[in-house]
Point group: none
Chain length 236, copies 2
DNA sequence: GGTAAATGTTCTCTTACTGTTCTCTATGAG
DNA sequence: CTCATAGAGAACAGTAAGAGAACATTTACC
């Protein structure tokens, strides 16, 4: 999917992000790839974006993040991707050559009940979350350490992040998050909202994933992270 | 499913990707298969794409990736990754009036194991799915009647429906669907694809949720529904 | 033998990718 | 508001890569 240069640049950005948490500037990338001009970087970045490996905000300095890495890096086809564990199983019988899969009878395993604490507006911030409306059961492999709760998403502000109105999001309680994470943020101790977090120095930006909504920037102390998005469910 | 040549080429691409992370060019593939012309490679690639083994962007250099491998070298079921399901933690004290919910200890309930049958390209149509790569457990409340299986989505063609690359979709096996449903459709008994179904008289349209992809319309008998999308999971 | 799909080859044509230089503009700091 | 800086992008040149028509051969199969 990627040419050598595109691959090199993606790896560089990824490493940089892992180490410093801050994406490199065009000039830094230029030096890293040993080029004399940022223009080449610009095109590589465009290519990476087109191929779905990075996401970025145009005209914003260092505003990019790695969305996925090439399969050769982690996942692989032999083994499932690094998302959660899974239970080994022997299923699979002889399938007709073009017949759709025919799973064996579904075995039952342990799940975990997670409370749905109410709704949260992904769009305009609304009421905080405190009502425990019902519970959903969650596959254990999605749960890492820590305490979790679920929220039902209202609004369309995160639509470009693939989070739609009516989706249920699984949140891990935490008071810290990295720039780029999608979090439940409490603003001025009053409005809770689901947004992507950006750290800008001491300030914090909460950005929606919908051009119709503006990014809101707050000074230190005004935003408190209440949890980080770890999984999403949608029922059709 | 694959001819000898197609198989050889697929293996070569797969190896190359594993080793260097960069897909081979047509010329490199030509040399690897000991051919004198790229043209043959072009046809083999087209065949592999049609059959759903690779995904690619047309007119882009080295823009391809292996989506799945033939059953003969079917992915082994890797070892399950153990993950502590519970580890008590001490979290901050004093709760403000809008303090986030503090769920009671998570009760354990029954879940259901559903096999992930492989990947399906949401973008370029691909072929039938039958590799059982691993399993996920699914909350029982998402399962209705009938038989289910899961697929991992590759590609971005359903992006505007909030289905992203890497998402796992839960499919209920069925051979019927209503107009507007998102289905796994098998075209000409060959290519399987995840698309939105539209019935137009006797014909059937498969439409992507991404303006970059065209809606494809087929005459009666060419499209067979293999399942209907009933839920979606995403892990962050 | 007849047919269709898969292959192998040659050639041509177009487009993509890379490296570089320069210019222009949006943004954020002060 | 002004300035310095990072990002956007046009233009040029050379190389690399993909698309596909045309035709001959081979293979599998009825």
């Amino acid at each position: 999917m990627l040419t050598r240069k595109q691959y090199e640049l993606l790896m560089f950005i990824h490493e940089r992000l892992k180490e410093t948490g801050v994406p490199p500037s065009f000039d830094e990338m230029k030096d890293a790839l040993d080029l004399r001009s940022k223009s080449g970087i610009h095109r590589l970045i465009t290519a990476l974006e087109e191929r779905g490996f990075i996401r970025r905000l145009p005209n914003r300095a260092r505003a990019m993040e790695v969305v996925r890495l090439p399969d050769s890096i982690a996942p692989g086809l032999g083994a499932p991707r690094p998302r959660g564990s899974f239970s080994p199983e022997v299923i699979e019988g002889s399938l007709g050559k073009l017949e759709p899969p025919r799973p064996a009878p579904e075995p039952v395993v342990q799940g975990t009940e997670i409370p749905v604490m109410g709704r949260i507006a992904a769009g305009v911030p609304i009421e905080a979350i405190q009502t425990h409306s019902h519970s959903i059961s969650v596959p254990p492999e999605l749960l890492g350490k820590g305490e979790h709760y679920a929220l039902e998403v209202r609004g369309d502000s995160m639509i470009e992040a693939g989070i739609l109105d009516g989706d249920t999001v699984l949140i891990r309680r935490t008071d810290s998050a990295d720039s780029g994470d999608i979090v439940v943020a409490l603003v001025d101790e009053e409005e809770a909202t689901l947004k992507r977090l950006r750290k800008k120095g001491a300030s914090i930006a909460l950005e929606a994933a919908n051009p119709a909504y503006e990014t809101r920037i707050f000074g230190p102390g005004r935003v408190r992270v209440q949890g980080r998005l770890v999984a999403l469910f949608r029922q059709y």
